[in-house]
């Protein structure tokens, strides 16, 4: 039997709260694909949303604390499934590399010396590392009834010179992954448009407007489900649909899934197992498939 | 300041076509760099003999820059490739001899890179400043002259010896 691939895991705050189902589905899918997680012990805030605009150094130090813990734990790489965490971690690493004085300061604050160059991965990079062929090998069900709009949001692929991962304006890596499940992907316009992000609480009006634009665009291009890889995007796109329904009476609900949930379905897990029932907009693959067949 | 401050002596061996012209451009663009560096112009970086470097160290240089055209951009097609190989080897030799890394630096500065010339020269000067005076040769010299003191010549004698040399 081949050795189990061990990957460092930095959950981030959302995974333990609003995006619990993301955490559940991610762990299940990774386990199913024959890999296992080594969670970074005593992980802390990544410095997202407010820290890095309030205090640059604090934000870098916060993010790098987690990298330091990973290093001390003997990890070579770790995955940050939340796009914001991923962005904060790689950006801080980039800052340190580019500006020796930042490195010096962060190291003195954390009382450590960084030896290794830990590779921080986003969700898509994680599956690339595990091996795309594993997904095809372990696939139990072809999700043929799905027309998926892959939504990257703002942080997964940007800034391009830091993430060095996909085209910042026309990314295609998530599509490749989604197509492995047998689902079809749609070519649409709002892949990297803003969902309103951290305004979720303070300016719901903005978030509702922007998120609705994105969902409308996905619908217009023939999608019946959207896939995201960021808890913040999911909150805005899924949860805020209740308000959309209230404000726009003719508004029709649109399911938004995490990429891991979609993979989970293809690997033969059911909705409840994956935590899809925790979403605001309900989704059941078989119902959707049946509905589609009748139309 | 009462105490006289030590300033490093930097010699730059530069090729006529790229770095010398690049340095000209730095001047034309009125960019600024430290006064420590003095340029010695040769036709090609391929023509810089390692002995020049040793000689310069011997004569009190604290840092040396060797700079030519970018690879593939040599006025003489291949001179800088010979230079690159030579310096690769010579650098190792200096390290082996215990001369700190950074005393001798190499770069490629093209005729259009006035700004780069300034950056390179400033970097070398700062690096050498941080390293302090280059003493290895000086100590040897002091030891030697202590044993065999040089005769003190007056000016007239100097001129005469100069002319004898001719």
């Amino acid at each position: 039997m081949e050795a189990i691939l061990k990957v460092g895991y930095f959950p981030g705050c959302s995974q333990t709260g609003t995006a619990r189902e993301y955490d559940i589905s991610l762990r299940k899918v990774v386990e199913n694909l024959g890999a296992s997680f080594d969670e970074v012990k005593d992980w802390s805030c990544c410095g997202a949303t407010s820290a890095h605009v309030t205090n640059h150094k604090l934000a870098s130090a916060l993010a790098m604390r987690n990298v330091m813990l990973a290093e001390q734990q003997g990890l070579d790489d770790m995955v940050a499934p939340c796009a914001a965490c991923y962005n904060r971690l790689v950006s801080s690493q980039y800052e340190m590399k580019k500006h020796p004085e930042v490195k010096q300061e962060v190291e003195s604050v954390l009382e450590t010396k960084f030896q290794k160059d830990i590779k921080v991965m986003n969700l898509i990079e994680l599956f690339m590392k595990i091996g795309l062929e594993k997904i095809t090998e372990n696939r139990k069900e072809e999700l043929k009834s799905l027309n998926v709009a892959c939504y990257y949001g703002c942080l997964l692929v940007r800034p391009a010179e830091i993430t060095k991962f996909d085209d910042a304006e026309q990314p295609t890596s998530m599509e490749k992954l989604v197509e492995l499940t047998g689902a079809k992907t749609v070519d649409w316009n709002s892949k990297v448009e803003c969902c309103g992000a951290a305004h979720s609480i303070a300016r719901r009006d903005i978030v509702v407007e922007l998120s609705k634009k994105i969902i409308d665009d996905a619908k217009r291009h023939g999608a019946n489900v959207m896939v995201v890889a960021c808890p913040m995007c999911h909150t805005n796109l899924d949860m805020r649909q209740t308000i959309m329904k209230r404000v726009f009476p003719e508004y029709k609900e649109f399911p938004v899934l995490y990429l891991t949930e979609l993979l989970g379905l293809a690997l033969g897990m059911d909705e409840k197992e994956l935590g899809i029932d925790l979403h605001t907009v309900k989704f059941n693959y078989n119902e959707l498939a049946a509905e589609k067949a009748t139309v | 300041m009462s105490e006289e401050k030590w300033e490093p002596k930097i010699v730059a061996f530069v090729c006529n076509w790229c770095t010398y012209t690049g340095a000209d451009l730095a001047g034309t663009s009125r960019l600024k760099y430290p006064t420590n560096v003095k340029l010695i112009r040769v036709m090609c970086s391929g023509g810089i003999d390692p002995v020049f470097i040793l000689k310069a160290f011997e004569r009190g240089a604290d840092g040396i820059l060797v700079s030519g055209c970018h690879p593939n951009d040599c006025h003489y097609n291949a001179g800088n490739f010979h230079a690159r190989r030579r310096w690769e080897f010579f650098d190792e030799l200096l390290k082996f001899l215990g001369i700190e890394e950074g005393r001798l630096q190499f770069s490629w500065v093209s005729a259009s890179e006035g700004k780069k010339f300034v950056d390179v020269v400033t970097k070398v000067t700062n690096d050498v400043k941080a390293m302090g005076q280059f003493k290895a040769y000086k100590d040897l010299n002091d030891e030697f002259t202590a044993k065999f003191p040089e005769p003190v010549l007056n000016e007239k004698e100097i001129i005469m010896s100069e002319e004898d040399a001719k």
Binding site: - | G46, A61, I159
Partner: protein
């Protein structure tokens, strides 16, 4: 030895930061210095006369001039020295301006440095040897690389003066980008109508040897004496037999496999083709990559229809050697393809504009073809996706240009003008159409240029919006252009039928390779470097190689033509005399010291080192030594550094001279 030191103030240029009188005073005491004086302008007539007078009066043997870069006035002072009777190579220039006064602020430190610099030169000049210049013959032929408008103009000018020209073009026809243009600004002249007569003139000129579908592979030699190897690529059609009837083209069954690059990929072409109907020479080329014959040996319809038996599938590339005295580079430009770029490219793509994804987002040259009467739409404005007439076009300027984040820092110079022209051409044909132009600044310097842009705005009603476009998306056949109107201070969205991107002009992708072949420097964008940005814009730093057109930097047609004529004039200056004087900076081997290891022979880039036998009177060979051929040696000195016994020395830069400079530090 008596040395004179002359320190120039260069007005304020040196005098402001270097205390010139103090430098002159300090140098008086240097051993060997007879006289040391400073003067306001050494290069002026009185300044030179002063030098001459001092040389004669004080019986000086050598002089040191502390002035500007030797690249500026070395010649001037050498001439003055010669006039006063001393060898020109006993003149040393200390670069007090570019390397001292201009780059330092601190007067005290700069003056100290200046004194040291002069001291180094004084020590060097003491060891300098009198030298005589070397004379070399001149081959009075010119090679022009590139057959666009610049190359055509340069070739015609040189040939009309009575000198032979070899014109090399890598495409099957000459004409370049200008032949693709519809109409030209600011007169709206038909581009092909004014270009094709010149193309024909080149073809028929008895002094011009035209080599199309050819590329320069190797350049040896030096100014006045270049040997050039040219690869004449196989057309698979016998050039002597072909009459250009075009039967093979019309009968070729491969119609849709290859894109027509002349039509900027907006149309297809057969496997055997001429780039465009007015091609010169009008001889087709068979594209091996798509031709059925090269896949399976079948087909051969062209062979059957050709009455002249001109088709030759077995034709091979030919290597041709040409001897020339001057080379004119006229390789032109490329438009930046803003498609997705590989990660290692220094240029980044513009994913947000969807070029390559949306068919109706085109670049400037594609729009030229759409607007051209001879183009794929025969001059009617039809968009590529569905052939409908666009009723609303958005033009975006500076796509790439002036965008450091995408790898370009420069302005492409012509886009403001051609965008105005595009919008105007469109409005002239589609009267109810709307044209919007997003711009950063309008740069329309040139005779009648700004008037042209004003005409587009005022008479033709083109709507100019100052601002950038952030994104283009497609919805139901419409292109949603989201941008910002910075003058109104608000975002703006335009639903367009078509978008035209004025993408940056970049150097030809193989420009740097060619520059290395020819031996000329280029900048980080791949444009060839001129010898001096102000006063020698036509010459490269390599003697005998001149630049014309957009290969040096983005240029429009009149500028390219002017530069081409200037380059031709420069080449003819070279041909004005039968012999060229060359600096005697060459290597010399000391026959006594040389042990015959021939390391120098191995490292010499020019093959200038020869083996020579030393014989006794009876003809018995005692040893083999190296000998440097003065004609071939270019004076790099690589041999001197590699010689273990230091028996080869570079005249003017020998070890003794350099050591003296080091010692004077």
């Amino acid at each position: 030895m008596k040395i004179g030191v002359f320190i120039c103030h260069c007005g304020e240029n040196i005098g402001r930061t270097v205390d010139c009188p103090r430098v002159a005073k300090a140098c008086e005491w240097l051993p060997g210095v007879e006289v040391s004086i400073d003067y306001k302008y050494m290069c002026s007539d009185p300044g030179q006369n002063m030098i001459k007078k001092e040389i004669i009066d004080k019986k000086l043997d050598a002089i040191v001039v502390g002035s500007c870069s030797p690249h500026m006035h070395e010649k001037t002072f050498r001439k003055a020295a010669v006039a006063a009777g001393i060898n020109p190579f006993l003149v040393e220039i200390t670069n007090l301006r570019e390397h001292c006064s201009w780059v330092h602020d601190d007067i005290e430190a700069a003056t100290e440095k200046a004194i040291e610099m002069v001291r180094m030169s004084v020590e060097k000049v003491k060891r300098d040897q009198p030298l005589t210049t070397i004379e070399v013959p001149v081959t009075k032929r010119t090679l022009v690389i590139g057959g666009g408008i610049a190359g055509i103009q340069a070739a015609l000018d040189v040939a009309n003066a009575g000198y032979e020209v070899v014109l090399v073009e890598k495409e099957p026809s000459i004409g370049g980008h200008m032949s693709q243009l519809s109409e030209t600004f600011p007169t709206l002249d038909c581009s092909q109508c004014i270009l094709t007569p010149r193309m024909v003139e080149v073809y028929q000129h008895p002094k011009i040897k035209l080599m199309t579908f050819s590329e320069v592979e190797k350049v040896d030699g030096f100014i006045g004496n270049f040997t050039v190897t040219i690869r004449n690529k196989a057309r698979h059609i016998d050039e002597d037999k072909c009459t250009g009837c075009g039967l093979c083209i019309t009968k070729c069954p491969i119609r849709k496999k290859a894109y027509n690059s002349f039509e900027e990929n907006l149309a297809h072409r057969p496997a055997v083709y001429v780039p465009f109907p007015q091609a010169v020479p009008n001889i087709p080329v068979i594209d091996e990559t798509v031709c059925t014959h090269y896949k399976n040996g079948k087909c051969g319809i062209c062979v059957t229809v050709c009455g002249r038996e001109a088709i030759n599938f077995d034709q091979q590339d030919k290597l041709v050697t040409e001897e020339v005295g001057a080379i004119i580079m006229a390789t032109g430009y490329k438009l930046y393809n803003i498609d997705k770029k590989p990660d290692d490219s220094i240029y980044k793509g513009y994913g947000e504009y969807g070029y390559g994804k949306y068919k109706d987002v085109v670049d400037g040259l594609q729009f030229e073809r759409i607007a051209s009467a001879s183009g794929p739409t025969e001059g009617e404005f039809k968009r590529p996706s569905d052939g409908k007439e666009p009723k609303k076009i958005v033009f975006i300027q500076c796509v790439g240009s002036r965008d450091e984040s995408k790898g370009f820092s420069y302005c492409s110079k012509i886009c403001c003008m051609y965008t105005a022209k595009h919008a105007m051409l469109y409005k002239h044909k589609v009267h109810d159409g709307e044209a919007y132009v997003f711009y950063m600044d309008i740069r329309s310097g040139g005779k009648m240029y700004d008037e042209f842009v004003r005409r587009a705005i005022e008479e033709d009603g083109v709507k100019y919006i100052r601002g950038r476009v952030s994104k283009i998306t497609e919805e139901d056949g419409k292109y949603i252009v989201k941008g910002e109107d910075t003058l109104a201070g608000m975002p703006i969205t335009i639903e367009a039928d078509m978008v035209v991107l004025a993408t940056a002009m970049i150097a030809q992708p193989d420009a740097s390779t060619l520059a290395q072949t020819v031996g000329i420097p280029y900048d980080k964008h791949g444009f060839f470097n001129e010898a001096h940005p102000k006063l020698r814009p036509i010459e490269s730093t390599t003697g005998g190689v001149f630049l014309a057109g957009a290969c040096q930097s983005p240029k429009d047609i009149p500028e390219s033509v002017a530069m081409a004529s200037a380059a031709a004039a420069k080449a003819m200056v070279l041909f004005g005399s039968d012999k060229l004087e060359r600096e005697p900076v060459v290597a010399k081997v000391s026959a006594d010291l040389c042990a015959g290891c021939f390391l120098c022979k191995k490292v010499c880039p020019y093959g200038a080192v020869e083996v020579r036998e030393v014989k006794t009177r009876d003809g018995v060979v005692i040893k083999e030594i190296a000998y440097v051929n003065e004609g071939l040696c270019q004076g790099c000195g690589t041999c001197t550094a590699s010689c273990p016994s230091k028996s080869v020395e570079l005249a003017g830069f020998n070890n003794e001279e350099i050591f003296a400079q080091i010692a004077a530090l």
